[in-house]
Amino acid sequence: MTTLDKPQRTDGEPILKVTDLKKHFPIKGRGFIRRTVGQVKAVDGVSLELYPGEILGLVGESGCGKSTTGRAIMHLQPATSGSVIFEGTEVTKLSRRQMRPLRRDIQIVFQDPYASLNPRLPVYDIVAEPLIIHKIAKGAELKTRVRALLELVGLNPEHANRFPADFSGGQRQRIGIARALALEPKVLVLDEPVSALDVSIQAGVINLLEDLRDRLGLSYLFIAHDLSVVRHISDRIAVMYLGWIIEIATTDDLFNKPSHPYTQALLSAIPVPDPRRERDRQRIIITGDVPSPANPPSGCRFRTRCQKFANVLSESQQRKCIDEVPALEDRGTGHPAACHYAEALKII
């Protein structure tokens, strides 16, 4: 089994199509009436497509809205507006009951393997629960299924009667993956699945996720902040900043021709475990912190930290950044980027 050469998976019909998805959280004022005094625009118009068998990486820093996007797609938090179409069905309008059959096909794995498993249930019960709820298996068949699932995620089925606390972090995350796979879903939303794990353990879980994709033909929406991990596993990558996707491209394109100044800064900021290379690197250091999503800058949301805006652009060019929201489109760099002055730049 090899994942070394990736086939192009972006032809045909997408299995999941997200259009202009928005999730705003109200800010309530003080006092008795608690009027809504503002909106935190956590996700503010995200569009993306996930194709069968594809791994789409969704990266960004804290607070950029990547996890909220995942939850809104799963309909765990109702979207404010926009549409999520999963295999032809509009998800955002469904009630909880109507959503249930769909849950068989789209499952989620959470970040924290310590908090996402019920500490009072033995592993067998945790993995069997979805099969029981959806009335898929019982009795001897249930036992066989759970054993097979534990084997599938590389755990010893003999340990099924133990509790989550008896397992290491990596093994717990595998239990979470087994639970998600119990219903044989087509799509997995992986929300930072390896970021709570030590590197030596993390590598095993990444390898497992790659194998599962190849064996079961799954599609992943892989949400993470670590670009090295995302590069390793994804076929395509979307970069988020303050509720927007600011660049989306195939993995090779994004790393060879990053076109948005934010993507460039992000790639440039990540240290590599190679002393000679690291000492010789020229870094693009962007200044400041991410602005509040309650009150984002006008026009381009990245302009307040943008090295290009500050150092390269003329005053009239800057005007455009302040006044006009840059559309996410291809400006001659081969893939869409939401920057008026997108230009491919070799960073690594």
Binding site: T3, L4, E61, S62, S67, Q111, G154, L155, H159, R162, A165, D166, F167, S168, G170, Q171, R174, S195, A196, L197, D198, V199, S200, I201, Q202, A203, G204, N207, L208, E210, D211, H225, L227, S228, V229, R231, H232, D252, F255, N256, A265, L266, S268, A269, I270, P271, V272, P273, D274, P275, R276, R277, E278, R279, I285, I286, T287, D289, V290, I348
Partner: protein, 374 residues
């Protein structure tokens, strides 16, 4: 400093900090947790020493022991000498003359290492006046503003009157660095200084840390779980595993010619940002051993692809394998000239190791799990 310019592995008498045979134990209900076991190293003036290891390897506990900041139930033995002066067992009054002035520390979490009820300017000038009582309040305040300016806080004069909660995480870590460099310390110990921060902010803070090292000329101990962070700034690196130093050497030797299987495995399990050719990762099977009753022999043995029965006889000593490069492995010679982890580690994705029973080290004594910046 180039790797060639460095001298021997053993600390010369000129070392500013000499740690010898440091042992730290915590009594718990399950028994005695041996968090640090026989750690020795020397820190040369002006050098940057990287300390790398995973959760529970004892890297943070080592530095807290050096600073005398462990809880009182910790049993610390061995020796820690700062400029020839023994620090272990020193009274709090004497020690506080050294903390901040001789050795300064930067902690992982900038949210909790500043006092929320004092203005940041005051917290810096307090540190300055603590070690220089002659200095007037006004002069100390001016020095605080200068320091804030140096670590890249815009409008330093106004910002000095802000409280910590008015700063973002990256800005707070800058303030913490300003406090650390306030008294021109001889040594700065930075314990996971960027782990709680986003990458773009991490890059900013690392730059500030470099400024601090240049300005003060302090020798620095940089503790991290991220092999990337250490690669660019460290002169020498220690790799810790199960409370021991398992490999030590100049940064280039350690990354390009590791001689301890654990180091090699660690490098192979990192997904690389800079590799266009995708390679399968090489995970290390199993989990670190329990620190309550560490099994005899090499602590990495149960996870090691080179494990032989002789490995279980006794715990291997750290031996010099090359000039300025030591490893604690009886089969280190077989690793010479083999820097590809895939030669030794398999890439199979299962993890059927015996589940660990209970976390070995009480959570309160170990700084958090990595990458909790979400």
């Amino acid at each position: 400093m180039t790797p060639q310019a460095r001298q021997t592995d053993e600390p010369a008498s000129g070392a500013v900090l000499e740690v010898t045979d440091l042992d730290v134990q915590f009594p718990t209900e399950d028994g005695l947790v041996r968090a640090v076991r026989g750690v020795s190293y020397g820190l040369r003036p002006g050098e940057v020493l990287g300390v790398v290891g995973e959760s529970g390897s004892g890297k943070s506990v080592t530095s807290l022991a050096i600073m005398g900041l462990l809880p009182s139930n910790a049993r610390v033995t061995g020796s820690v000498k700062f400029r020839g002066q023994e620090l272990l067992g020193m009274g709090d009054k004497d020690f506080s003359r050294i903390r901040g002035k001789g050795i300064a520390m930067i902690f992982q979490d900038p949210m909790t290492s500043l006092d929320p009820v004092y203005k940041v300017g005051y917290q810096i000038s307090e540190t300055v006046r603590r070690h220089d009582s002659q200095l007037s309040k006004k002069a100390a305040k001016a020095r605080a503003v200068d320091l804030l300016d140096l670590v890249g806080i815009p409008n330093a004069r106004d910002r000095a009157d802000n409280f910590p909660h008015e700063f973002s995480g990256g800005m707070r870590q800058r303030v913490v660095i300003a406090i650390a460099m306030a008294n021109q310390p001889d040594i700065i110990i930075a314990d996971e200084p960027t782990t709680a921060l986003d990458v773009t902010v991490q890059a900013q803070v690392l730059e500030v840390l470099k400024t601090a090292m240049d300005e003060t000329g302090a020798a620095t101990v940089l503790i991290t779980h991220d092999l990337g962070v250490v690669a660019g700034v460290a002169d020498r690196v220690l790799v810790m595993y199960a409370g021991r130093v398992v490999e030590r050497g100049a940064v280039d030797a350690l990354y390009y010619k590791p001689r301890m299987p654990y180091t090699l495995g660690l490098l192979g399990s990192l997904p690389r940002l800079d590799d266009a050719e995708k390679q399968r990762l090489t995970p290390i099977k199993g989990s670190p051993p329990s620190m309550v009753n560490p099994p005899p022999g090499c602590p990495f043995g149960p996870r090691c692809p080179l494990h032989i029965t002789a490995c279980d006889d006794e715990e291997p000593e750290l031996v010099e394998v090359e000039h300025d490069h030591s490893a604690a492995c009886i089969r280190h010679e077989e690793l010479a000239g083999h820097a590809d982890p895939a030669e030794f580690f398999d890439t199979d994705a299962s993890d059927i190791s015996e589940p660990v029973v209970g976390d070995a080290i009480p959570a309160a004594h170990v700084s958090g799990r990595p990458e909790e910046n979400l």
